[in-house]
């Protein structure tokens, strides 16, 4: 594949980000607070007034960008402390993702073989997912003595469900005649699982992994709140929220760091998908990639 075709999606992404950033400043130019930049001799009074885009809600992009370079008490830039926090949170969410994938797959394998359980357990699983994570997090985190491992469990809680649903679907996706074929070879359940059900599921699983990857980041961040962990992005968000009324750009910078971590997690899954699904029949989506 040519480099140009591989770069195209990245260019599209950058273009959209650029449009959003320009839109952000354009809104401020039209309806934000007055622009006062004596250093550059630039003064501008927007013709309209719209509260949501004032400097407190949407700081100027350069103000947010500038926040990255502010030094804290230890002489460290905010950017480098956010990167450190992102690595800390990434560790929690990676463990959460791994555990969630394992639990999700295991659960699906059990459910597919025990029909009674499927009928009884799936409604409970659905119920478990309607309970807001913020309500569950203290139970888990306090129960596990507030360590980063407890936070990973919160991430697991958000991760396993899409994996279970997709795995059940994937393991049933093969042609009914493929199951007849296995029966004609007198293949046992375990062989059918290993040779047919599991290898048939990755195209479905990876869709769930994409959801799970971002969900595990959210779970890890939210899990840090009740744990009182200060080392991760959740801690950084909490701190920035406290100073929001006079330094909103810190919160925006922290949000940008969270978003970046989510995107990285997603891209890792997309890359793994591309490698793992090489032997599979290309879909419309795969043919483009």
């Amino acid at each position: 594949m040519s480099t140009r075709r591989r770069l195209r999606p990245a260019l599209g992404f950058l273009l959209i980000v650029a449009i959003l950033l320009v839109g952000w400043e354009a809104a401020k130019l039209l309806a934000g607070d007055p622009w006062r930049f004596p250093d550059y001799g630039f003064y501008w009074d927007p013709p309209l007034r719209w509260k949501p885009v004032n400097d407190l809600n949407l700081p100027h992009l350069w103000t947010i960008f500038g926040a990255f370079w502010e030094l804290d008490a230890k002489g460290e830039t905010y950017l480098s402390s956010l990167i450190g926090a992102a690595f800390f949170t990434a560790r929690e969410s990676a463990l959460g993702f791994a555990l969630g994938t394992g639990v999700g797959l295991g659960l699906a394998i059990v459910l597919i073989h025990v029909k009674v359980l499927e009928r009884g357990l799936v409604p409970l699983l659905v119920a478990s997912q309607t309970v807001p994570i913020i309500a569950i997090a203290p139970v888990v985190v306090v129960g596990l003595r507030a360590g980063w491992f407890g936070v990973a469990i919160v991430a697991t809680y958000l991760t396993f469900f899409p994996v279970t649903i997709a795995a059940i679907r994937g393991m049933r996706s093969a042609d009914p005649r493929a199951f007849e074929l296995m029966r004609s070879y007198a293949a046992g359940r375990r062989t059918v699982l290993r040779k047919l059900r599991l290898p048939a599921s990755p195209p479905y699983l990876f869709t769930a992994f994409k959801i799970a990857a971002t969900a595990s980041v959210v779970g890890a961040i939210v899990g840090e709140f009740p744990a009182g962990i200060r080392d991760g992005l959740g801690g950084a968000l909490l701190q920035a929220m406290q100073y929001y009324s006079f330094s909103p750009q810190d919160l925006w910078a922290a949000i940008a760091a969270c978003a970046a971590l989510g995107i990285v997690a997603f891209l890792l899954v997309v890359t793994a998908e591309r490698i793992a699904l090489r032997g599979y029949r290309p879909t419309e989506d795969g043919a483009r990639a």
């Binding site: 042609d175 005649r177 493929a178 007849e180 074929l181 296995m182 029966r183 004609s184 070879y185 007198a186 293949a187 062989t191 040779k195 047919l196 290898p199 048939a200 990755p202 032997g279 599979y280 029949r281 290309p282």
Partner: protein, 279 residues
């Protein structure tokens, strides 16, 4: 005739199959009734009949993919279930049912993997089977990279990998175009001659049934019964010229007339005529 040619591979006695409808509205369907049939080793038997005559059901009963409601099915002197557990069957469906994620070679290895043959033996056997169906050059391809006819050939190679006592084929060429189908018929005969395997073959096509078979079993619908068995006394070795023999056409006519005479769903005479002409 030697013993091995005369002994019976499949013995069906008084086989019937009723699908019990579930719920109040669902009807009870009598799919097969009073089926007696015995198949000798090395025979090529075609099952032909109108849609809904239970020919696929009968094939699945022989392969123990579904059970009987009444009667017995013996395969190689064993009950069908025992024969299945002894891996005496090779199945080929209308769709190739190859596994996308495996290469053609690894698809053919699948049954050998399931019975736990060592890697080297598996690879050698799969290569041999692929050579037999003339797919040797495509061993490393994935199924979806091949044409429909090639995929079906790979499915045949897979079915033959375990050297089954009996090959069960459910409309294997039904989804192929007429030209590919005729070529596949010739290839199947060549494979059959070389492997001396016993074949039960379900088809909709009268010319195909006559061209391939040693006997054609004509079935009627609701309930599915055997109305007639037409012995095909063409020379055992058949090729393109067989399709131009007068006796071939006579046999086609005979099968067609037994189909028309059979009760149940009428066969569209135009379709039969068209098939006769294209043969």
């Amino acid at each position: 005739m030697t013993d091995s040619q005369t002994d019976t591979v499949v013995q069906l006695s008084g086989v019937s199959k009723v699908f019990e409808g579930r719920g109040q509205k669902a009807a009870r369907v009598e799919a097969l009734s009073g089926i007696d049939l015995s198949v000798r080793r090395g025979e090529f038997i075609s099952l032909i009949g109108p849609s809904g005559c239970g020919k696929s059901t009968l094939l699945r009963i022989v392969g123990d993919l579904i059970g009987v409601s009444d009667g017995t099915v013996m395969v190689n002197g064993k009950l069908a279930r025992e024969a299945r557990l002894a891996r005496e069957y090779g199945m080929v469906f209308q769709a190739p049912v190859l596994f996308d994620w495996r290469t053609v070679q690894r698809n053919v290895e699948l049954p050998l993997e399931i019975i736990g043959r060592p890697k080297q033996e598996r690879e050698a056997r799969a290569r041999e089977m692929l050579a037999l169906v003339e797919l040797g050059d495509f061993a490393g391809h994935h199924p979806w990279q091949l044409s429909g006819g090639m995929q079906q050939r790979a499915a045949i190679a897979r079915a033959l990998a375990l050297d089954p006592a009996i090959l069960l084929m459910d409309e294997p060429f039904g989804a192929l175009d007429e030209m590919t189908r005729e070529r596949m018929n010739l290839e199947l005969l060549r494979i059959w001659e070389r492997t001396a395997t016993t074949v039960i073959f379900v088809t909709h096509s009268i010319p195909e049934a006559v061209f391939l078979s040693t006997r054609v079993v004509v079935m009627s619908a609701r309930p599915g019964r055997i109305t007639k068995i037409v012995p095909i006394d063409l020379p055992r070795h058949r090729d393109v010229e067989t399709r131009e023999m007068e006796h071939y056409f006579e046999l086609i006519t005979e099968v067609r007339e037994s189909l028309r005479g059979s009760e149940g769903e009428a066969v569209d005479p135009r379709r039969v005529a068209a098939e006769g002409l294209s043969a």
